[in-house]
């Protein structure tokens, strides 16, 4: 039965909810969709390679002393985590815009009341989520492998015999060598660096002509970014800069000002050997990464907002 319409009710609703320029709900939907799309590309298969690398390196390192093998297992694992996450950030982000344009998904999305800023932020958050899941999964794999090695070496020490006190001392030293609480800081820095690279890739892809162009540019940015600190030091040191011509100075200034300082996030080498990262140093570095990501996102929006699609 159709309910009767009151005579006082207006023929049409007079007050619609006002369209907001930026809606977290729309961004969340876009991010979830991007994450699902990337997962369907079977990106997580690289975890198998990571696991294989850990198992192989662990088998090779068995001939070394236990301090050396734990040290090297950490080096190899964190190094692989860093390179895999950086590659994932670049490759996953580089294809986002061109793929959406090719599939015409971009037009469907932007034809709805979705602003271009929401679109970009949603896409980027989807990649950030993917990177987070990757870092966490790799971290778990690494921890499992480390614990397995500790268990193996502990049982070897126990089997070797000796006094109970000496055995316990050796096991304590082994655990202290293997489990280093600073490794968490390493994981955070790997993630922040990958987010920075994803933002920079998104910016490049807003004006790039193809995916391959974006990837090549970003690989170059990665290498130059690792040398940015050296260029900055040369530019800033008066004794060195004084001898250089204006062209070299201009080049050093350009590299220092345009490229991100990726060395700031390369603290893993020292973290692995047990150097502790101070609380403020860690958060300042994370802050720098967030600042970089925001600037690259703003630049991407600046270019994308007026782009002819």
């Amino acid at each position: 039965m159709i309910p009767a319409i009151s005579e006082d009710a207006p023929a049409f609703p007079t007050a619609y909810p006002r369209h907001r320029f930026f809606s977290p709900a729309r961004v969340r939907a876009l991010a979830a969709n991007t994450f699902t799309e990337l997962v369907r590309l079977k990106i997580f298969y690289f975890l198998l390679i990571f696991a294989l690398l850990l198992i192989t390196s662990s088998a090779i390192l068995i001939q070394l002393s236990f301090q050396d093998q734990f040290q090297m297992l950490k080096d190899v694992s964190l190094g692989a985590m860093s390179i895999f996450t950086s590659l994932l950030a670049i490759l996953a982000t580089a294809g986002l815009l061109p793929k959406d344009i090719e599939d015409r998904t971009l037009y469907t999305v932007l034809a709805k009341p979705v602003s271009r800023l929401e679109y970009l932020v949603g896409k980027l958050l989807g990649v950030y989520l993917l990177l987070l899941v990757s870092v966490v999964l790799m971290g778990i794999l690494f921890f499992v492998m480390l614990s397995w090695r500790v268990h193996y070496v502990t049982s070897e020490i126990r089997a070797a015999g000796g006094s109970a006190e000496a055995t316990q001392q050796q096991i304590d030293l082994l655990r202290a060598t293997a489990y280093n609480p600073n490794l968490w800081s390493g994981g955070i820095l790997i993630y922040v660096k990958a987010c920075l690279l994803a933002s920079a890739t998104l910016f490049v892809s807003t004006f790039a002509s193809s995916t391959i162009f974006t990837i090549i540019i970003m690989v170059a940015v990665y290498f130059i970014g690792n040398m940015q600190a050296t260029a900055r030091d040369y530019w800033q040191v008066p004794s060195i800069a004084g001898q250089a011509g204006w062209l070299i100075k201009a080049f050093l200034a350009f590299v220092s000002l345009v490229f991100p300082d990726l060395q700031a996030f390369n603290l893993l080498d020292e973290i692995v050997v047990g150097t502790s990262v101070g609380f403020w140093l860690l958060w300042k570095t994370v802050g720098l990464g967030v600042l970089y990501s925001l600037i690259y996102l703003s630049a991407a929006f600046f270019v994308f907002s007026d782009k002819e699609l």
Binding site: Q71, M72, Q263, L267, E270, L281, I295
Partner: protein, 171 residues
Amino acid sequence: METTLSLPNPKPRGRIQVALATVVILIFGLVRLPLEIRLSRERQASSFGTVKLDLGLRERLSQLGFLAALSGFRTPVADVLWIEAQTAWQRVEYGRMNFLMSTVTTLTPKNVNFWDMAAWHMSYNASVAAINNTKQPKIALRSKAQREYFVLGKDYAEHGIANNPDSYLLH
């Protein structure tokens, strides 16, 4: 009367936008520069990033190894060289071993284990191998080689202490 419809020419805005975005990044670069310099000093004060990748190191590493070291993978490169040094030890090639260990300790000066092992290999294993070297008939030359390996081992220990003053292991 015939009327023609003229459409406005599309403006080449894309390039302008990219140029403006680059200017924004340059301005951001100027703002972040003092922050980065301060952060870099803080890192060095906390014993991070003390390794300088210079021409001397380039001569000792392969091109690929140097590139990897430049890209923030110093310790994995050092690990590979350390395994090579272990292989050189098994082949009784102490000269090559010294070269590799010197590169490893330059790449990872904060790793006390590498300094410790390098000092031990040179002072004990290499020096004993030198004095027992039957290919060298003159005992005086064997003794000289042994003393040189002692000095090398001592150098590793001293450099290790200088790089890791807070560690007791090398004393």
